[in-house]
Symmetry: C2
C-alpha cells in the first residue's frame, strides 16, 4: 500500500509506563496527544503498560508456578498494554477526539514464535493507514505481537520502544518520539551526576552504545531499527513540550562529532573467573559453546595469558544468568576444564560512550587515570570503537561515574552544550 503524498507525514509517539502510571497521568497524556494532533494530524501512539503493572503480573505468575514462561506467560503479560491503550482511547473519546485503540494482533504486528523474547518480522500497515485516513488517532499496544498462528507474543523488557520504532519504520514516519520521564539523553544519570548535560543530538550508534551500557533512555534494538530505516528519533519528556534529544545519522548531524557523549554504569552484572584452565586448543570455544547452548549471553570476555600451561578465563554476564552459569562451572570442573570457578556478584561496569573513542588517542588513558586517582581498582577492561568499559567493585561505581563525568564534562559546562565547543 502506498501512502498518498498529500496525506502528510506520520508521527509516532511512544509513551513509557511511568507516563501512563495512573488514570490522572493518562488524562494528561490525552491532553498532550490532543495538542500533538493539531500539529500532526496523522498521529500513531504506542503505549507501555501502566507503571508497575507488568511487575505485578510477573509476581502473580510466580505465585502459581515456579517457572512461569512460554505461551501462557505472554498471554498474561500482554493484558498490561491492552489496559493502557483502552484507557487512553476512552480518555480521548471523552475529549471528542476520534481515536481507535488496537492490539498488536489487530494491527498486524507479526513476530516469530520465540515466546517472551519474540522478534518483529513484519507489520501489515493496512489497518493503521485506513484508520489514519479516517482521521483517527491510532493507539497501539507496545511490547507485543502475534505469530502467524495468532498466538500472542511479547518482545521482552523495554519492548514498547521496539514496537514504536518498528511501527515508525513500517509507516515511513517522519519521526519516532520516545516520550519518557527524563528530558532527553544526558551525559550521565542525573540522579548520580546532578550537573549531567542534555544533548541536542547524538548519532544512532552513540545511542545504541549508551543504551547497551546501562543508560535507560531507550532500547538499543529500537535505535537499530530506526537507524536501518533512517527514521529520526526524538527522546523527550512526556510531561512538557520542550525539545529533547534527537537521534539521527552522524553524517546528517550539523555539529561536529563528539568524542565522549556519556558516562553510564550497570550494577546488574556478575563476573565469573575460571582458574587453572589448561592451555588446550578449542577449550575456550567449548566454554562459550556451553554458554550459548543455555542462552547465556556474555558481555565481556578476558582470556589471561597462560603460565605453566594453565590460564584463566574471565567473563562478565548479566545478573539473571548467574544461576545458569554457576551450574555450568560445576560441570566444567567435573570435566577438568578448570580447577575452580569464582562467581563474583559485587561488581559493576562503568562505561564511556562516544564516536571514534578507540581511535582518539588518550581518551581511554584519561578514564583509567581518573579511576586510579580515586583509588578505584580496575578489574578488567573491554573497549570497542564506541565504548570503553571497566569492571570495578560495585561499592565504588557511583563515585566512579561522578569522577569520570567530571573529567570529560567539567562542572559548569552549559546544558545543551554545542558539541563543537568541547
Amino acid at each position: 500500500m502506498t501512502v498518498p503524498d498529500d496525506a502528510g507525514p506520520i508521527v509516532v509517539q511512544k509513551y513509557g509506563g511511568t507516563s501512563v502510571a495512573t488514570a490522572e497521568r493518562i488524562r494528561a497524556i490525552a491532553e498532550r496527544v490532543a495538542r500533538a494532533r493539531d500539529d500532526s494530524p496523522r498521529l500513531v501512539v504506542v503505549l507501555s503498560a501502566m507503571g508497575k503493572t507488568t511487575d505485578g503480573l510477573v509476581a502473580l505468575a510466580h505465585e502459581v508456578s515456579d517457572d512461569p514462561r512460554g505461551r501462557e506467560m505472554d498471554l498474561l503479560l500482554a493484558t498490561g498494554e491492552q489496559v493502557s491503550v483502552s484507557l487512553l482511547g476512552l480518555a480521548l473519546q471523552h475529549k471528542g477526539i476520534p481515536v481507535i485503540s488496537l492490539t498488536a494482533s489487530q494491527c498486524g504486528i507479526r513476530t516469530d514464535d520465540a515466546f517472551n523474547i519474540a522478534r518483529i518480522e513484519s507489520i501489515d500497515t493496512r489497518r493503521i493507514l485506513a484508520e489514519l485516513d479516517r482521521k483517527r488517532v491510532v493507539i497501539i499496544t507496545g511490547f507485543q505481537g502475534m505469530t502467524r498462528d495468532h498466538e500472542v507474543t511479547t518482545l521482552g523488557r523495554g519492548g514498547s520502544d521496539i514496537t514504536g520504532a518498528a511501527v515508525a519504520a513500517a509507516l515511513g514516519a517522519s519521526v519516532c518520539e520516545i516520550c519518557t520521564d527524563v528530558d532527553g539523553v544526558l551525559s550521565a544519570d542525573p540522579r548520580k551526576v546532578p550537573h549531567a548535560m542534555q544533548w541536542r543530538e547524538i548519532s544512532y550508534e552513540e545511542a545504541i552504545e549508551m543504551a547497551s551500557s546501562g543508560a535507560k533512555v531507550l532500547h538499543p534494538r529500537a535505535a537499530e531499527v530506526c537507524m536501518a530505516y533512517r527514521i529520526p528519533i526524538h527522546v523527550r519528556s512526556s510531561f512538557h513540550d520542550g525539545e529533547g534529544t534527537w537521534i539521527r545519522r552522524g553524517d546528517e548531524m550539523v555539529m561536529e562529532q563528539a568524542a565522549v557523549v556519556g558516562v553510564s554504569s550497570d550494577r546488574k552484572i556478575a563476573k565469573v573467573t575460571l582458574i587453572d584452565v589448561p592451555d588446550r586448543p578449542g577449550l575456550a570455544a567449548e566454554v562459550f559453546r556451553d554458554l550459548a547452548a543455555r542462552a547465556i549471553s556474555v558481555r565481556l570476555v578476558i582470556q589471561g595469558a597462560s603460565a605453566a600451561g594453565l590460564g584463566r578465563i574471565t567473563f562478565v554476564l548479566d545478573d539473571e544468568y548467574v544461576e545458569g552459569a554457576t551450574r555450568l562451572v560445576d560441570d566444567w570442573k567435573s570435566r577438568g576444564l578448570a580447577t575452580a570457578g569464582i562467581v563474583d556478584r559485587e561488581v559493576a561496569k562503568i562505561s564511556i560512550v562516544g564516536s571514534r573513542l578507540a581511535s582518539t588517542p588518550g581518551l581511554a588513558a584519561r578514564m583509567f587515570a581518573v579511576l586510579a586517582r580515586e583509588g578505584i581498582n580496575i578489574d578488567c577492561i573491554s573497549s570497542s570503537e564506541m565504548k570503553i568499559a571497566c569492571v570495578i567493585a560495585d561499592a565504588h561505581v557511583d563515585e566512579a561515574v561522578r569522577a569520570v563525568h567530571d573529567e570529560f564534562f567539567p562542572e559548569g559546562t552549559a546544558p545543551q552544550a554545542e558539541r563543537a565547543t568541547r
Copy 2:
C-alpha cells in the same frame, strides 16, 4: 467437524470470579481441574475474571471518562479473563498437566458487534477439538467474544455463564458445570434464610425464572442456551466435589414437578409512576417506545384503570436505568403525557418461582396472605405461569423472604428434599 464416537464425552466447567479471586484459589482450582481430568479426559474450562477485577477496570475507566463504553471499553474489560486463563494455564503447566489457554478470539467465539452487550452468533470449535485431541485441557476466557472484523466484544455482566453454556452447546458436551461459591440451587438465599433447601434437580424453565428474579446462581441466558441444545447443567461448589443441583428438561426429571422451587428477592430495582396520564390510544405505546429507544428495559408494567379519563402507568426497572428514566419523565411532562412522575428507589421485589404456579390454585393467594399477616403492603403484582412477583418497600424485603419461604418450606424440611415428598 464431527467428533469421533470413541473420543469420549466432553465436560465443560465454568468457574466464577470468586473461585479464581487469588493466586491461592487458582492453585486450588488447578488441583480440582487435574482431578476432573482423571474422570473426564476431554475437559474444557471457562473462566471469569479474578474477583473484583472487572469492577476495578470499570472504576479506572470512569476515572478517564464520564461515559466509558463501546469498543474501547470491551477491549479494556476483556483483559480480566485473559489474566485468569493465563494464570490457570501456568498453574496447570506447573503440575505437569498439558493445557492451553485461549482467548475468545483464538477459539473462534463469534459475536455480533453490540459492544458491551454482545450476543454469541457462532463458535468455530475446530481449534478447541484439535487441542482436546492433543490431550490438552482447554481453558477459555468467559464473558467475551470477537466480531467478524476481529474486534473484541463482551457479553455483559454474568457473561461467563453464557460462554460456558454456548461452548458446551457447540461441543455437544455431556454436561455444563457451573462451579460457584454456593453448593447448588437453593430455595432461597441462605444468608437470608438459613434453613434454605438445596435442590437435587430443577427444570431449565425454573432455573431461568429463578435467575431472572434475582437469584444469582447462573445467568438466565446460559440456562436458555443449554435448554435449546439439551445440555444438562450441574450447578455445584468450586470448593468441594459434592453433588450440586442438576438442571434438565422437566420431562426427563425423575421426580414430580414442584410447585414452588424458590423464593428470591431483588433490591436493585426502582418504580416509576406516571400520574394523570390521558386515556388516549397509543400513549402507552409512546412511553414504551421512548424507553426502548434508550435501551431501558422494563421489568414489570401496571397500567391502572383510568378515572375521569386520566390514568396511571407504573413500571419497574433496574436501578441502573433510573437516571435515563428520570430524564424521560421530564420529557414526557413537557409533552403533556403526564402531570407528574414519581421515581421510587426504596422498593424491592420478592418472587416465588416454580412450575405451573399460575395454574395451581391458591399458591398466589398463600403468598399474599403471608405478606398481609406480616403487615407488608404489596405495591404491585405481576404473575406469569412460572413466577409471581410482588413489589414491596425494600425495608421489609428480608423478613418477607423468610416469611414466604417458611410458608412453602416449613423449617425442618430436609435438605435435598425429594420433590415428591412435599
